[in-house]
C-alpha cells in the first residue's frame, strides 16, 4: 500500500497545506452565510461585508424560526423533514419489494418489467412533471404531504441497486430457508432484510438528501405557504419587485436548512461506511 506510506518533512506540510486550502475554499461561502445570519441588514447591504460574526445571532434565528418571511421556518423544516423521510423510506420500501419480486419470483413478463423500471432511470422528474402534476391535482393531492411524497416515491436507481445486491445473495440461502419452512415473505423479513441493512442505511442517506433538496416539485405542488418546504422556501423569501430582502433572516434560514442533511450524514456515517467495507455473505 504505497499510498499509506508516512510522509515526513516538507511533503507532510505540503499535503496539509493543499487540504487546508481546498477545505477553506469550500467552507468560506458557508462561513460567510453564517456571518451574514448574525449581523444586521445594514451591515450586509453596505460594502464591505463584515467577516466576523455580529451580535444579532439570537434575534435573526428567532425571527427566522418563528415568523420567517412567508411562513415560519420551523414549519418549513417540519414539512421538509416529513417529505424527505417519506421519500427516503417510501423509496426504500418500494424498491426492496420490487427488487425482491424481480429476483426471487418467476412471473410472466418479468424481464419486461425489469427493463421498464430500468428505462425510467433515464427520465428525470422534470420530463414527466406536467402529467404528474395533472395526476396529483386530480387526486386532490395539492398542498398535502401525500402530494409532496407519493409522486417521487418510485425509484429505479434503488430498485436496481437492491436487485444487484439480492443477486449476490447465494441461492442456497433461499433454499435453506425454504427447507427450514420459511415462506417467501418470511425469508424476506428474516433473512434478506437484515442482510441488506447496511445497503439500506447507505441508500437512506442518499435518498434523504435527494428528498430534502427537492425544489421544482414542491414549488409546483404547494401553493399554501404553510406547506412550503425549506429549500423552495428560501427562494420564496426573496422579495419580488422593489421590496428589500431581509438578508440576515434568509441567511439564517439557509444555515438552518443545511443542518438536517448534515446531521443525517454524520449520524449514519458509521453504518454507511460499514456498508461499504463489511462483506458478510
Amino acid at each position: 500500500m504505497s499510498g499509506m506510506v508516512e510522509k515526513t518533512g516538507r511533503g507532510l506540510w505540503l499535503t496539509h497545506l493543499g487540504l487546508i486550502v481546498g477545505l477553506a475554499f469550500i467552507c468560506f461561502p458557508i462561513y460567510l452565510a453564517f456571518v451574514a445570519s448574525t449581523v444586521e441588514q445594514q451591515d450586509i447591504v453596505r460594502p464591505p461585508m463584515p467577516l466576523l460574526p455580529g451580535d444579532k445571532f439570537y434575534e435573526n434565528y428567532r425571527d427566522a424560526l418563528l415568523s420567517g418571511v412567508n411562513a415560519p421556518v420551523w414549519r418549513m423544516l417540519v414539512n421538509s423533514t416529513v417529505m424527505a423521510l417519506g421519500i427516503a423510506l417510501g423509496k426504500i420500501l418500494i424498491s426492496l419489494l420490487s427488487a425482491f419480486a424481480i429476483v426471487y419470483f418467476r412471473f410472466p413478463a418479468r424481464k419486461l418489467f425489469f427493463w421498464l423500471i430500468f428505462l425510467t432511470l433515464m427520465l428525470p422528474v422534470e420530463v414527466r412533471i406536467v402529467p404528474t402534476y395533472e395526476v396529483a391535482a386530480n387526486f386532490g393531492m395539492l398542498n398535502s404531504y401525500s402530494g409532496l411524497i407519493l409522486p417521487l416515491i418510485a425509484s429505479a436507481t434503488a430498485t436496481f441497486l437492491f436487485r444487484q445486491f439480492f443477486m449476490t445473495v447465494p441461492d442456497e440461502l433461499a433454499e435453506a430457508a425454504r427447507v427450514d419452512g420459511a415462506k417467501p415473505m418470511r425469508f424476506f423479513f428474516d433473512i434478506l432484510l437484515p442482510m441488506s441493512r447496511t445497503n439500506i442505511a447507505a441508500l437512506f442517506v442518499i435518498l434523504f438528501i435527494y428528498g430534502w433538496n427537492q425544489y421544482l416539485w414542491p414549488l409546483l405542488v404547494t401553493t399554501d405557504p404553510s406547506m412550503n418546504t425549506i429549500v423552495m422556501g428560501i427562494k420564496q423569501m426573496f422579495p419580488s419587485g422593489d421590496d428589500l430582502a431581509n438578508w440576515p433572516v434568509i441567511m439564517a434560514t439557509a444555515i438552518l436548512a443545511m443542518i438536517p442533511p448534515v446531521a443525517v450524514v454524520i449520524f449514519m456515517q458509521n453504518l454507511f461506511i460499514k456498508g461499504l467495507i463489511e462483506t458478510e455473505k
Partner: protein, 354 residues
C-alpha cells in the same frame, strides 16, 4: 421410521432430459450415497427429493406417502448444503433454531433441542458467534446442527465436505457417519468423491449421465461392477480395461471365460481387472505383457503403470517393498482369473453364469 422410495424419476429442463428414470428403495436408517462425476444429475436427484426441484415424472414417496407436490418443509427433510448456507446475520444458536421457530415450537423446547445438538457437535461455546467468526469445520458442524435439531425424517447432504481441506474432510466424514448411526436417520448423501462414497455408504447409487448404473453395497459395487463406467469410477486407481486380444500370449493357458472370449474374437469386449489382482511375474508365467512406463511409490504400496501393445495404459498395484522393473523394460504380468470381469461392447457386464 422413514423410508424413501424413488419410482422411475425423470427430470427434464425444457426438452433436455437430464435424469432418465431412476428407481431406488431406501430403507429406514440407511445411509445411501449417490456418487458420480459432475453433471451426472446426482445433485438434481437430491434436490428433487428435497423439494427444491420439481419432478417431471415418476414418484417420490417418503414413508410411503407421495411427496412430489409438497413444499420442502412439509416433506420433513433437512438438508446440508455444499456452501453450508448459514444465515450470516444470525448467531449459531439462531441458525440452528430458525426452522423450529418457524414451526412455532415453544422457546424452552427450542433451547433444549439446540443445546442437545450443540453438545453432540461440540458447538456449545460457539452458540453466540456469527458464522463468519467460525472455521470451515465449525460452519460445517453448524449446518449439521441445523439439520439435526429439526428431527427430520431424512437428512439430505449435498457434497457437504467439498469445501474442507483434505484432513478435515476425513475427520468430518467419520463424524457424519457416527452421527448418522447414532441418530438412525435415513440419509441421502451426494458426493463426487468415490472414497467418501465407499467409506460412508451402506449402499451407494453410482450415477452417470442421468442413469443409475449400479445400486449396491460399496464392496459389492467395487468387486462386481455392472458396467465399465462403474469399474472405472469406483476405485483408485480405477479398474484396468484390456482388450481380449492383448492376452494372446500363448505361454500360459488362459482361464476359461477369457479363453472363450478370445477365441470368439470378442472384438469390442473388454476385460476388467482391478490393479491389486494383477502382479508382475517371471516371463514364463506371463498371461499378458506390456512395457513399463513409470511407477508411483506410495510407501505401503507401489503403483506400476504399464503400457500394453495397443497403447492401453494399465496399473498394477504391488507391495511397497517389491522390486520394480526399469522404465522401458518388458513387463510380464499375471492375474487371478477369479476376479476377472468381462464387459460387452456397450460396456455392460457379461455374466457367464458359473
Amino acid at each position: 421410521m422413514s423410508t424413501i422410495s424413488l419410482k422411475s424419476i425423470r427430470k427434464s429442463y425444457g426438452k433436455t432430459e437430464v435424469i432418465h428414470g431412476i428407481d431406488a428403495e431406501i430403507a429406514d436408517g440407511e445411509l445411501i450415497v449417490i456418487v458420480g462425476p459432475s453433471g451426472c444429475g446426482k445433485s438434481t436427484l437430491l434436490r428433487m427429493v428435497a423439494g427444491l426441484e420439481t419432478v417431471t415424472s415418476g414418484e417420490i414417496a417418503i414413508d410411503g406417502k407421495r411427496v412430489n407436490d409438497l413444499e420442502p418443509m412439509d416433506r420433513n427433510v433437512a438438508m446440508v448444503f455444499q456452501s453450508y448456507a448459514l444465515y450470516p446475520h444470525m448467531s449459531v444458536f439462531d441458525n440452528m433454531a430458525y426452522g423450529l421457530k418457524i414451526a412455532g415450537r415453544p422457546k424452552a423446547e427450542i433451547a433444549e433441542r439446540v443445546a442437545k445438538a450443540a453438545q453432540m457437535l461440540q458447538l456449545e461455546e460457539f452458540l453466540q458467534r456469527r458464522p463468519r467468526e467460525l472455521s470451515g469445520g465449525q460452519r460445517q458442524r453448524v449446518a449439521m446442527g441445523r439439520a439435526i435439531v429439526r428431527k427430520p425424517a431424512a437428512f439430505l447432504f449435498d457434497e457437504p465436505l467439498s469445501n474442507l481441506d483434505a484432513k478435515l474432510r476425513v475427520q468430518m466424514r467419520l463424524e457424519i457417519k457416527g452421527l448418522q448411526r447414532d441418530l438412525g436417520v435415513t440419509s441421502l448423501y451426494v458426493t463426487h468423491d468415490q472414497v467418501e462414497a465407499m467409506t460412508l455408504a451402506d449402499r451407494m447409487i453410482v450415477m452417470n449421465a442421468g442413469v443409475a448404473e449400479q445400486i449396491g453395497a460399496p464392496l459389492d459395487v467395487y468387486q462386481d461392477p455392472e458396467t465399465v463406467f462403474v469399474g472405472g469410477f469406483i476405485g483408485s486407481p480405477p479398474m484396468n480395461f484390456i482388450a481380449p486380444r492383448e492376452f494372446a500370449g500363448p505361454d500360459t493357458d488362459l482361464p476359461d471365460p477369457l479363453a472363450r472370449a478370445v477365441a470368439a474374437g470378442g472384438e469390442n469386449m473388454l476385460v476388467g481387472l482391478r490393479p491389486e489382482h494383477m502382479a508382475l511375474c517371471a516371463a514364463g508365467e506371463a498371461m499378458l505383457t506390456g512395457t513399463m512406463r513409470y511407477v508411483e511409490p506410495l510407501g505401503a504400496e507401489t503403483l506400476v503403470h504399464v503400457a500394453l501393445g495397443d497403447g492401453t495404459q494399465i496399473t498394477v498395484r504391488q507391495e511397497g517393498i517389491a522390486e520394480v522393473p526399469e522404465t522401458g523394460a518388458t513387463c510380464p504380468m499375471r492375474f487371478d482369473p477369479a476376479y476377472l470381469c468381462l464387459f460387452d461392447g456397450n460396456g455392460k457386464r457379461i455374466r457367464t453364469g458359473g
